[in-house]
């Protein structure tokens, strides 16, 4: 008969949690990209910030250079046409007057990334291309303290990555570390926006966007409360599976 404790030993492996990064530590929160994922997470993030007791005092910056158009309606909830950051900022201010919300109606590019991404930023990266992910990753690696939560998806599956860097130390891997496809994406000018991609036959599923958004918010909760023990999470909504991965040495 086998030793049952030996058989179960993988379940008892030490779970190495990252120290809590409470919201009070951050000087600003940014949501970069207000498409299917960004707009899905935004109202819930705002509600959490208001009712978490401390988040309401932290400025929230909404960043997107694209315009909302009627054809975005299948996955995105906007009440007016125009720049996505401006419209969402207006909507969220009405719903959550307790929050300090600012819009930045620009794409983040090498020329402005240092200006907008500063120390002690908590960043939700919900963009539609790896070149932007690479740019933000590079910038965060240059700062002393920052947290970057990046989500992306294909049709029914996707992933969320978290990069925690605090007091000059990487507590998780940069999002490019194990992803050469992000590291190699350098050309922001060649980027097709998701709206353009949808028109050229690369549609997205609303439910997958919602799942990325939910996992990004779950990751926020884990990192701010001290429960985070992974640096990447994969999911697929069809089999209904999510798997968290910890690659720290």
């Amino acid at each position: 008969m086998s030793n049952s404790f030996q058989d179960l030993s993988p379940a008892f492996e030490e779970i190495r949690k990252i120290p809590a990064m409470p919201l009070e530590r951050f000087l600003r929160i940014l949501v970069i990209g207000l498409g299917g994922v960004g707009t899905a997470l935004l109202p819930h993030l705002c509600r959490y910030l208001v009712y978490s007791g401390t988040g309401g005092r932290i400025p929230l910056l909404l960043v997107d250079g694209d315009d909302f158009e009627n054809r975005n309606r299948e996955r995105q909830d906007f009440r007016a046409l125009g720049n996505k950051a401006n419209i969402k900022a207006r909507e969220m201010r009405q719903l959550f007057p307790e929050l300090s919300i600012r819009s930045i109606p620009e794409l983040i590019v090498p020329e402005n990334v240092d200006f907008y991404i500063e120390e002690r930023s908590l960043i939700f990266l919900a963009v539609d291309n790896h070149a932007s992910r690479r740019l933000l990753s590079q910038r965060c690696r240059m700062l002393s303290s920052t947290v970057l939560i990046s989500g992306g998806n294909e049709w029914s599956d996707g992933n969320v990555q978290i990069y925690v860097r605090w007091d000059g130390e990487d507590l998780t891997s940069p999002i490019t570390r194990f992803h050469p496809e992000i590291e190699a994406a350098t050309d922001l000018s060649a980027v097709l926006s998701c709206d353009e991609a949808a028109r050229t036959g690369e549609p997205q599923l609303l439910f997958t966007n919602l799942t990325v958004a939910a996992h990004m918010l779950n990751t926020l909760y884990a990192v701010t409360t001290g429960g985070l023990a992974y640096e990447e999470l994969y999911f697929d909504i069809v089999p209904g599976t999510s798997v968290a991965i910890d690659r720290r040495q």
Binding site: G33, G35, G36, G38, D128, D157, G158, P180, R247
Partner: protein, 92 residues
């Protein structure tokens, strides 16, 4: 008597070693996890085996026990092999 004590200890450690040598390799790719007795095979051989059933993208890197390795690396019993699934591009 001391001799018999040593012999018991030896037996225990040999049993542990034997158990270890028959451990499967744990393989991960995105949401997929499987265990297989593939010690002795190379990472590249496993990559080929899984390419079709898991739709493994040829660009993905391989991590063996959390360290990046080449396709020539030989697997040992109890190893953890991960092919790092490409990150999702869309979401906007």
């Amino acid at each position: 008597m001391a001799g018999s004590g040593d012999s018991r200890q030896e037996t225990r450690s040999r049993t542990a070693e034997e158990g270890k040598s028959t451990q499967p390799v744990q393989i991960r790719y995105g949401i997929h996890r499987l265990e297989a007795r593939v010690a002795g095979k190379t990472v590249g051989e496993i990559r080929k085996l899984l390419q079709q059933p898991l739709n493994l993208d040829p660009r993905v890197i391989a991590l063996l026990n959390h360290r990046q390795v080449t396709d020539q690396t030989v697997l040992r019993a109890g190893d953890q092999l991960e092919f790092v699934r490409l990150a999702g591009v869309k979401g906007g």
